[in-house]
């Protein structure tokens, strides 16, 4: 079925195109375009319309093969890839194209299209994206769908204090933790008339595999499982766009259906076989619920007098989830609490608008005004949940009496002007007013004023210069500190996504191209967000970036380039450690975290001229180094124990790629590629020295860790084109 699905998608695409094509006058008998003559001048690295590459891949891996592969499937074996085929009918200009890469591998990609100029275009594709988590993972759980079970005898012996979690070690075989996303897509675009374009899209996405998942029974019984996951999302869209030289109107419908086949996770407790009134033998969790979204939209634009254009968009969507509500607990020894209703009955009406007008009243002036709104109107009924079962273990009173029905709305008014009277510089100024309205947030409303200044000199003969400065201030109103107290939070906490904030940001870039050979680029940026009214929470965050790049390209084919980029991110937040009411109000117990991350990225490429008449090469090198530090601080005289500072977390990746192609004949080339990767990593929370097995104090985990790797990979093959 797996291999049949890409074929099915392509068949569907071609069938659709056949139907559409059948509605057109029968084309003249196919007259294949004459094969292109052999062209020694063409680079062997330039793709051709008809080609394929076949070869073999061999790799040596020291370290973590999962991290190396990640979103790729780099297993050893025969490789059929880079396949392209194109056929054009000269009489009609109709063109058929197919492409295939990594055939037979988890990251395989297949694309086909049929294009009739001025009439229709139909495209079909199938794309696999694996995500390889780990080969270090082990688990004593046995999966039966989304039900994970342990050996009963071991559970009983631990329950009876005759064994410990270590008893699971010999029962935990190694497994590869992988998930994957396979997407099939068919699009059709039909020019019904010169002015009317019809479009249709169907996408089906299967997402399945296993991913690391927390399935806990409390601090003393924390469990990490390999979550089985199988879902499918189907999206369907249709649209019609009518346009002439002055006006455009578009109507569209988009529907999306997400179906989770594993929407309930049930897993055994490693410490307990039988349910008791204080300890469950199993847990049950709701996974992501099946949901759907249906959206209708209409858009249009109109070119008015005086070089003015109006653009408008509005959409109305309904999102819904009506999954059955699970009982409060799977623990048979706890009281059965009455559900508020049988199903979720969650619906949200989503309404969005975007209206803009742009005018050029004079050659040197460009003015734009825009109004944008977004309204997420949550229609879920008020739900009374005064009590719930915590960890399938005990009854707990809800601090809120049930879930909050969260709605929010945003409105933005923007005005900007660009003046190009000071040639070749374009100067711009913009003002935006962002308003947010919220339910059940600490502020009922926020308002933000944003001023932006830009300067762009983009048509200089020797280069270009760009700069932008942004100043913004956000202020909240309707502060509700009582809502924080209700949920046990500090009343002076401010959530940084809506807290009062002052932002300053500047970015600039200079590009120099003094001739056709050299290109130099320098960029820099700095910015800071300050949350001056937030006693607790994020106080400030900042960034600094800088980069330089040099490119060199000679007509004889010699090319080279190097670039360096530096990024620094920092943040500072304040908290208070408290275990009692008295400590909760003691400012001496405040502590801070000063976090910073520095990233260096260096890239180099070399495109040498032909080596003799028949040989070409490409070389590339990338280096990335990221280091993060988290420094804790406490007040002088603090009753807190001075912290033992966290070590630096880092990761470094080096990649060297070299590829050589040698023309064996007019149609055949030998390809040899080599790739070297070296990855170094240390993360204090994910290091094998910390997660040194599946049994940890109070935890049964998978053993998923961050490990370094060094790999050498070679592909030798033949590239044939005709």
């Amino acid at each position: 079925m797996r291999k049949a699905t890409p074929t099915l998608i392509l068949f569907l695409a071609l069938a659709t195109s056949a139907v559409v094509s059948g509605q057109q006058p029968a084309p003249a008998p196919a007259q294949p375009v004459a094969a292109a003559p052999v062209d020694d001048a063409r680079s062997l690295f330039d793709p051709t319309a008809r080609q394929f590459q076949i070869g073999g891949r061999l790799s040596s891996i020291e370290g973590d093969p999962a991290r190396w592969q990640r979103y790729r499937d780099l297993r050893d074996g025969v490789l059929f890839t880079n396949a392209r085929y194109e056929h054009e009918w000269a009489a009609t200009g109709q063109k058929f194209q197919v492409a295939a890469d990594n055939v037979g591998y988890r990251d395989g990609r297949y694309v086909g299209s049929l294009d009739r100029p001025g009439r229709f275009t139909v495209t079909g594709s199938w794309d696999g994206i694996p995500q390889f988590y780990s080969v270090d993972t082990k688990t004593p759980y046995t999966a039966n769908g989304a039900t994970l079970t342990l050996d009963d005898a071991t559970q009983r012996s631990i329950q009876n204090k005759q064994a410990t979690l270590s008893a699971y070690v010999p029962l935990a075989p190694q497994f590869d933790m992988i998930e994957r996303r396979d997407t099939g897509l068919v699009t059709a675009s039909i020019a019904a008339t010169k002015q009317l374009q019809l479009t249709s899209t169907f996408r089906t996405q299967k997402h399945n595999g296993e991913l690391p998942w927390g399935a806990s029974f409390g601090f003393s019984n924390d469990v990490e499982v390999a979550l089985p996951y199988t879902s499918r999302t189907n999206d369907f869209g249709v649209g019609a766009e009518w346009s002439n030289q002055r006006n455009m109107v578009r109507v569209a419908y988009d529907g999306s259906w997400f179906n989770n086949n594993d929407d309930t996770l049930v897993w055994d407790s490693p410490l307990q076989l039988d349910d008791t009134a204080s300890l469950p033998g199993r847990g049950r969790m709701s996974m992501w619920p099946t949901n759907q979204a249906n959206t209708f939209s209409i858009a249009g634009s109109s070119k008015l007098a005086a070089r003015t254009q109006f653009t408008g968009f509005l959409s109305y969507g309904v999102w819904s989830n009506d999954s059955a509500l699970q009982p409060y607990t799977i623990n048979s020894q706890l009281p059965v609490l009455a559900l508020p209703r049988a199903t979720t009955d969650a619906t949200a009406n989503v309404f969005a608008t975007n209206f803009g007008i742009t005018s050029r009243p004079a050659d040197d002036w460009r003015l734009t005004a825009r109004l944008r709104t977004y309204n997420f109107d949550n229609q879920m009924p008020e739900t009374s949940i005064p009590q719930f079962i915590n960890y399938d273990t005990s009854i707990k009173t809800s601090s809120t009496g049930g879930p909050h029905v969260l709605s929010h709305a945003r409105g933005t008014i923007t005005a900007d002007a660009t003046w190009t009277g000071l040639q070749p510089v374009g100067l711009g100024v913009a003002f935006a007013r962002n308003h947010g309205g919220y339910d059940h947030r600490i502020y009922s409303d926020t308002d933000e004023n944003v001023f932006t200044l830009t300067a762009d000199a983009a048509t200089l003969p020797w280069g270009s210069i760009r700069g932008q400065a942004e100043f913004s201030d956000r202020t909240g109103s309707g502060l509700d500190e009582a809502s924080l107290v209700q949920i046990g939070e500090q009343p002076k906490l401010r959530h940084y996504d809506i807290a009062n904030r002052e932002r300053r940001k500047f970015e600039g870039q200079l590009d120099l191209f003094p001739n056709d050979v050299w290109n130099v680029s320098v960029n820099a940026g700095v910015g800071k967000d300050e949350y001056g009214d937030s006693y607790f929470g994020l106080q400030e965050s900042s960034f600094r970036v800088a980069g330089v790049a040099v490119d060199f390209a000679r007509p004889n084919g010699l090319g080279a380039g190097a670039s360096y980029n530096f990024e620094r991110y920092a943040g500072f937040h304040v908290s208070r450690s408290a275990g009692s009411d008295a400590e909760f109000v003691d400012p001496a117990r405040d502590w801070t975290t000063d976090s910073s991350e520095d990233v260096h990225y260096f890239s180099l490429y070399l495109t040498p001229p032909r080596l003799g008449r028949k040989t070409e090469a490409r070389i590339g090198y990338d280096f990335s180094d990221a280091r993060a530090n988290y420094v804790y601080g406490i007040a002088p005289g603090s009753p807190l124990v001075p912290p033992n500072q966290l070590p630096e977390a880092y990761n470094t990746l080096q990649e060297l790629r070299a590829e050589l192609r040698h023309r064996l004949s007019g149609r055949l080339a030998l390809t040899v590629s080599y790739a070297f990767e070296d990855f170094k990593v240390y993360d204090f929370a994910m290091d094998p020295s910390v997660v040194d097995g599946i049994v940890q104090p109070s935890s049964l985990v998978l053993g998923y860790v961050y490990r370094p790797y060094t790999t050498h990979s070679a592909v030798v093959g033949l590239l044939y084109h005709w």
Partner: protein, 331 residues
């Protein structure tokens, strides 16, 4: 007395950069010469974007054969491209060929100085874009007017080349889309190269245009191509997070970018900062939410609030829970 870090980062560096921008502008204006549009603007050969190029036949048009007597190499550059597809009545090849885009050429032929023609490399951004927008103003290009790229004086030829494209598709001026976007958005592209957590851009499974419409978006912010908000854009693929659900986690519902960096990060799951710090920026409640988890918590105690996946060891339904007992996202 609450503790605060001294504000070591003054604004002086910031204002210095602003002044530098102004200085650059002044120097640029003072030293620029040539490379600008001719002081004598050519006769309006290409109609502004508000009116179609529908000059009557033989009215100022020289014919492409005349163009090719001097620009003979240009014909080959169009071969195989959609602009040269004469069977499509909408294309330049089916209309006035060269002069469909560059404007009527007879005045250019007659001019010894060879002006009176639209030269895209030397035209103002509005003039250059206007020629393309005569045809390419709908579909994915409907949001160009008023877009950020337009406001920053980019033009179609900043990214595309009709005669000398470098890419296999979309006629870009660079070999790949990522290289093109990196010309200006270097930091965002560098983030996609992060070793620990990134979207599959460098693996070739995604590109900038998977999420963004560089021509501008008529429906969304940040030139996002789909949906009407950041969260809607993300959930076009991550549909499991779309909800709505019984117990919502507020930052999830409102904006995924509150916690995640969509371009890439050095933190697991592309978080803007690792756990537990990301959570502790908003949670300061009594006991474990606001506990200071130092090195001893990991190496000595092996606290399950710190090692491995930290807070989501327990609060795994962090994007929202549909379980009646899911108030704290543990079920």
């Amino acid at each position: 007395m609450p503790i605060r870090r001294p504000n070591a980062m003054r604004n002086s560096g910031f204002w210095l950069l602003v002044c530098a921008c102004g200085l650059f502008t002044a120097v640029t204006v003072a030293t620029s010469s040539g490379g600008q549009a001719p002081t004598q603007k050519p006769a309006p050969t290409t109609a502004p974007a508000t009116a179609p190029v529908t000059a009557p036949a033989q009215s100022g048009f020289a014919g492409s054969d005349t163009c090719l007597t001097c620009h003979s190499d240009m014909e080959a550059t169009l071969k195989g491209t959609k602009h040269a597809q004469a069977l499509d009545a909408r294309t330049p090849a089916a209309q006035q060929q060269c002069e469909s885009c560059h404007g009527p050429g007879q005045a250019h032929v007659d001019d010894d100085a060879k002006g009176h023609i639209l030269k895209f490399a030397k035209a103002s951004p509005a003039e250059a874009s206007g020629a393309c927008l005569n045809c390419h103003s709908g579909g994915a290009h409907a949001g160009w007017s008023g877009s950020k790229h337009e406001a920053r004086n980019l033009t179609c030829t900043t990214c595309h080349s009709v005669h000398h494209p470098m890419s296999a598709a979309k006629q870009l001026v660079k070999n790949t889309e990522t290289q093109l976007c990196a010309t200006c958005h270097r930091t965002q592209v560098a983030k996609t190269e992060r070793a620990v957590a990134h979207m599959p851009v460098r693996e070739g499974k995604m590109a900038c245009s998977s999420c963004h419409n560089p021509h501008g978006s008529i429906s969304n912010v940040k030139a996002l191509a789909k949906g009407s908000s950041v969260a809607e854009s993300c959930t076009t693929c991550h549909t499991e997070m779309r909800g709505p659900v019984l117990w919502e986690h507020t930052p999830v519902r409102e904006n995924c970018a509150t916690c995640h960096d969509p371009h890439g990060s050095s933190n697991d799951r592309m978080l803007v900062v690792r756990q537990p710090m990301i959570c502790q920026r908003c949670h300061v409640a009594m006991k474990h939410p606001a506990t200071l988890y130092d090195k001893d918590e990991i190496t000595t105690k092996k606290s399950n609030r710190m090692f491995g996946r930290s807070c989501v060891n327990c609060h795994s339904a962090i994007h929202g829970s549909n379980h009646p007992s899911g108030q704290f996202f543990m079920r």
